[in-house]
């Protein structure tokens, strides 16, 4: 199960359906990355810095993960390396996602606590 990096595969023979699955995932990742930047800018303009920072932190990792995933399908030569990079960037994104969800949850709870007093 374990080998050295030198044995890394230049080409992983994904079939047409698998390629479509990878490209679709990459598309959604890129779409979310762009939306994150847009929402972060909106938060910045409206003065919500706490919500803006994790969004800005997460989006580059998601963009990179999407780029590397596309490279697996589009190029041959370092497929396994690109796949490893995708995993690394996704991990980093997920760390930020955990923070974003907790921050959003806290904002949601705050809203519901404040509503009865309105």
């Amino acid at each position: 199960m374990v080998e050295t990096q030198d044995d890394s595969l230049g080409r992983i023979p994904f079939n047409e359906m698998e390629c479509k699955q990878l490209v679709n995932s990459a598309f959604w990742m890129k779409f979310i990355a762009i939306l994150m930047v847009v929402v972060a800018v909106l938060n910045l303009v409206s003065g919500s810095f706490v919500q803006m920072l994790p969004l800005l932190g997460a989006s580059p990792f998601l963009w990179l993960a999407s780029r590397k995933l596309n490279l697996i399908v589009e190029t041959d030569g370092s497929d396994q390396e690109h796949l490893s990079d995708t995993f690394l960037n996704l991990r980093n994104y997920l760390i930020f996602k955990a923070i974003i969800t907790i921050v959003a949850g806290a904002a949601f709870i705050r809203f519901f606590i404040m509503v009865p007093s309105v």
Partner: protein
């Protein structure tokens, strides 16, 4: 894109396998947070009917919104958990690595589609708070 035989084993190094397992761990953690969010929304849903609160919009609209959130959070957590399961199989077993990678990314796509919905909601909320601020 070929019809070559699918790889049972992608020769990841020990370090990369650790990285995949680490990613799967974070997927599980985020899934747990999402399940908690779903439970929180379900509690809010019950609370809307149990406690008489003066909401600026109709109670049934708030309840419907919370019900949708419960479903979306739970399904997002479920799909992330599912993706994590496939990525763990890539790192731990050598039976159908290539298939598991593709399946894992297929499952994570569902997570991102729901994330897209939440981002659009956040965008609308941002626009709303901005317009309120301007007015």
């Amino acid at each position: 894109m070929t019809n070559e035989e699918s790889l049972a084993r992608i020769p990841f190094s020990a370090e990369i396998e650790k990285r995949i397992l680490n990613q799967a761990f974070w997927m599980n953690l985020v899934a747990i947070i999402l399940y908690i969010a779903a439970i929180g929304c379900a509690v809010g849903l019950v609370g809307v009917f149990m406690i008489k609160v003066s909401l600026p919009i109709s109670t049934s609209i708030v309840a419907a919104g919370l019900l949708i959130l419960v479903g979306l959070f739970a399904y997002q957590g479920y799909s992330l958990n599912d993706a994590s399961h496939y990525f763990k199989l890539v790192a731990r077993k050598d039976e159908a690595d290539q298939e598991y990678v593709a399946e894992g990314f297929e499952k994570i796509k569902v997570f991102f589609m729901i994330e897209g919905f939440f981002m659009v909601l956040a965008f609308i909320a941002g626009l709303f708070s901005l317009s309120v601020g301007i007015l």
